[in-house]
């Protein structure tokens, strides 16, 4: 489902967070938003999914959302946002309970989402019993269970250690090969952007503007092949050269947002 971001600006009080963001995202495309901390990339993601009201501009869809999607804009959060008092299955079911589905269909959908994320045997476990990677798998299952048209990923792997992150990147790629959705992926991790995105949008520091858009022509599923290793390194290097100076400046900034 094509997505259009038009002249979006946002500010928190006197602090401008985003300025004049124009971006079209094609159906089924994965766009990574990267930039130095405080560039407003999470703010933009909040605006896209309707959790934040932009000061100016708008986000729109071409055409109606697909009929089988229960929740067209669906988030996966950095901190997982699981309910600690609900089991894994009940956390996933939370996304369905208010949708007037039959109990049987609910159970079926939850079971399918758990199977897809390798959580079937953990259905009755509670979040505190799970590792960070398993918790984020619950977050992913909860997002998939509503068949999102646009998947909004807010630094989904940032809270995980390097090895778990690698495993989950593989899982995401495997899931994306089967589930069709448009994806916006916010990250500060250049490798995630280079590995997972069709297009990388580089934002400048406050106020965030689009600084550069980098198309990566190799399909995501093929990027782990050895012959593309040089390409990934090159993408990584170009992204770093685009944000290095601003990241360094942002790092020295006094935070008073």
């Amino acid at each position: 489902m094509p997505l259009h971001i038009e002249k979006v600006s946002h500010s928190y009080g006197a602090v401008e967070a985003l300025k004049d963001i124009d971006l079209d995202i094609a159906d089924g495309e994965t766009v990574a938003l990267i930039g130095p901390s405080g560039c407003g990339k999470s703010t933009l993601l909040g605006i896209i999914g309707g959790l934040l009201q932009p000061v100016a501009g708008q986000v729109s869809l071409s055409g109606p959302p697909p009929a089988d999607s229960l929740n067209p804009f669906t988030y996966i959060f950095q901190d997982f946002a699981l309910l600690p008092w609900r089991s894994v299955a009940a956390n996933v079911a939370l996304a369905l309970e208010h949708r007037r589905l039959g109990a049987a269909e609910c159970r079926e959908r939850v079971a399918a989402a758990l199977a897809l994320t390798g959580l079937s045997e953990f259905a009755a476990a509670y979040p505190k019993q799970l590792s960070g990677g398993m918790r984020q798998r619950v977050g992913i299952a909860r997002a998939l269970v509503v068949r999102p048209a646009v998947l909004l990923l807010d630094e989904p792997l940032s809270a995980l250690d390097a090895q778990t992150r690698e495993l989950l990147m593989e899982d995401l790629l495997a899931i994306w090969a089967r589930e069709k959705s448009t994806r916006v992926y916010v990250t500060h991790n250049l490798e995630e952007a280079a590995r997972l995105a069709d297009r990388v949008v580089v934002l400048s520091r406050r106020p965030g503007r689009i600084r550069e858009v980098l198309q990566i022509d190799v399909p995501v599923a093929e990027r782990i092949r050895p012959e593309h290793a040089a390409l990934l390194i090159d993408v990584h290097r170009r992204l770093w050269s685009l944000i290095r100076d601003e990241a360094a400046t942002a790092e020295r900034e006094i935070l008073d947002v």
């Binding site: 999914g49 959790l51 229960l70 929740n71 804009f73 669906t74 988030y75 959060f77 901190d79 946002a81 309910l83 600690p84 008092w85 609900r86 939370l94 996304a95 309970e97 208010h98 509670y126 505190k128 909860r142 509503v146």
Partner: protein
């Protein structure tokens, strides 16, 4: 390098300690030693029985009060004030406190009033309540209900505040209606804070029932303790105090059970 192990020294252990570890016997030993010392001081005549009766005398007084039924009579009278007072105060306090936690306008309206009335020692209102409701049970129950109401309001609305915002944003992002967000996110998320508030309000209720019974009651532990003091029956007086302590322990044990079963997910 003729001797490879020469000059090797083991690294000295310097961690450990500064971590509480359970010592199951210690509390019992401390209790036994203190009561033993007290009994010894009484038996040797160091403590005058009129001012400080021996543990044995207190136990004897308790036993006699149990046998002739006065103990249960007073305990029942007190419980008949605490239970309805606590339930009324808690129900009203939860209703107001949760409304203040959920609706900004309810908070804006309620917070100044609650802040102004909370610090009043509620026992000071007993004379007014007696004037309004008479000297009988309703004025005592109302005092307890008032005393329970305010801490419950405060714990309920701050418990709502402590529900992580990100969980509410998550629920909104999945399109949950506001009613479901309250029922499935805010209330369960506020439950630990609400239950912690119950401990405070239960101790307030115990305090107020004793105070109210000392001001004007025939029966009840407060009245019993006061009468015993007036008659210089110190052993009975302290037996009443022991009963209050047991009552407090039972209440906190019961609340502990409720917490453990309601908050198993922690």
């Amino acid at each position: 390098m003729s001797e490879p192990n020469a000059g090797r020294r083991p690294i000295l252990f310097r961690g450990g300690g500064f971590a509480p570890t359970p010592r199951r016997a210690v509390p019992w030993i401390v209790f036994a030693v203190l009561i033993g010392l007290w009994q010894a001081a009484s038996s040797s005549g160091l403590l005058p029985p009129l001012f400080m009766p021996s543990p044995a005398a207190i136990v004897r007084a308790l036993y006699e009060l149990w046998l002739d039924g006065t103990l249960m009579e007073h305990v029942t009278a007190s419980l008949k004030r605490i239970v309805p007072g606590w339930i009324i105060g808690t129900a009203a306090g939860l209703a107001v406190g949760l409304a203040m936690g959920i609706f900004s306008s309810a908070r804006a309206a309620g917070l100044p009033i609650v802040s102004a009335l909370f610090p009043i020692p509620k026992i000071a209102l007993l004379p007014v309540l007696i004037l309004w409701l008479g000297i009988g049970e309703p004025s005592k129950v109302a005092t307890i209900a008032l005393g329970v109401f305010f801490p419950t309001v405060i714990s309920a609305y701050s418990a709502c505040d402590s529900v992580p915002r990100n969980l509410i944003r998550m629920a909104q992002s999945f399109g949950l209606p506001a009613r479901d967000i309250v029922a499935k996110i805010v209330l369960p998320g506020a439950m630990p804070g609400i239950l912690a508030g119950f401990r405070i309000s239960a101790s307030v209720a115990l305090l107020l029932v004793v105070a109210a019974e000392m001001i004007g009651a025939q029966h009840g532990i407060g009245a019993f303790v006061l009468t015993a003091g007036n008659l210089m029956q110190t052993d009975q007086l302290l037996a009443g105090v022991v009963v209050l302590s047991i009552l407090g322990l039972l209440i906190s044990w019961g609340l502990g059970l409720v917490e453990r079963s309601a908050l198993r997910w922690r």
